[in-house]
Subunit: 150 residues, 2 copies
DNA sequence: GTTCATGCAAAAGATTTGCACACAG
DNA sequence: CTGTGTGCAAATCTTTTGCATGAAC
């Protein structure tokens, strides 16, 4: 798995053991197709791993995010969502969000031209503002067919 | 002010009076340059308007957002931020965010080409997914100069 | 007098933190 | 042993809701 090597090398001098809960969370993220909230991870893992506490999920996600293994997303519904960065790179996508029902569509079919421009913009921004740019987030907001029908 | 006419016409059949607290919030948003959190609005308004409660702020912001007068942003720091849509249109910008210290830079200097592509993508997404697209959000994430120095 | 808006307090969620114990090296 | 990771409970923080009062129409 992508994360295990990095996990074993640890994070910024802090120890980082690849424990059972952490493995479970990583494995779960690598299997799940969508971006998952802490609660969703918790509920799903609870079946096969009854003892696990919510705080462990949060602490692990935070660790993984700081290690760069996981990406934390804020999509506007009041809770953070997480996805494996490797997965994001493989199946890079942007978001189309219904502001009425909260439905999220990951689209990846019009990315080619988008990504070209993104790269260009990244370079300009990096130069002008002295940033090291690591990621981007593009979302379109609107009303989905279903909600419009009502 | 942009909002007053719309406010007086009401919202989807619901009554919507242009009351003093609502005026104060609108005025504050029209003066403020950045996207403000509910708490920030509350603190600032509290000086000139001691009685105002936080819930009024939230209720008003929600109302204004549903009316389309205000845009609600989720920038990943655990609280929502709001800005006048009219202002957004006048001074449309995208975001550059430091994932370490949370600093947010609004940039608007490379938007021309971005917006062209955005329009094209909007059309394609609208057609393919049957969405009515109302808005978009583009952000770049990275590490700012200051944080990198440490 | 009915409806709408507000403040306050309580409630609800999401996330973080303190602490004592378990466990690995 | 020593330090790291964990679960649980409590604490925080943001946002929402219930309710009684007051204002607008």
């Amino acid at each position: 798995m992508a994360g295990s090597r990095s996990l074993r090398q640890g994070f910024k001098g802090h120890a980082s053991r690849l424990t059972a809960p952490r493995q479970a969370i990583l494995e779960f993220l690598s299997k799940s197709s969508k971006h998952m909230s802490a609660k969703e991870i918790y509920s799903s893992l609870h079946r096969s791993y009854p003892g696990m506490g919510l705080s462990t999920i949060y602490r692990t996600l935070d660790l993984l995010a700081r290690m760069g293994i996981v990406t934390k997303l804020s999509l506007g519904d009041g809770q953070s969502r997480y996805e494996l960065r490797s997965k994001k790179e493989e199946e890079h996508h942007h978001h189309l969000i219904c502001t009425n029902c909260g439905k999220i569509i990951n689209y990846s079919e019009f990315l080619d031209e988008e990504l070209g421009l993104v790269k260009k913009t990244e370079d300009k921004l990096a130069k002008k503002y002295n940033f090291v740019i690591q990621d981007h987030n593009i979302e379109f907001l609107g009303i989905c067919e279903k909600c419009r029908g009502k």
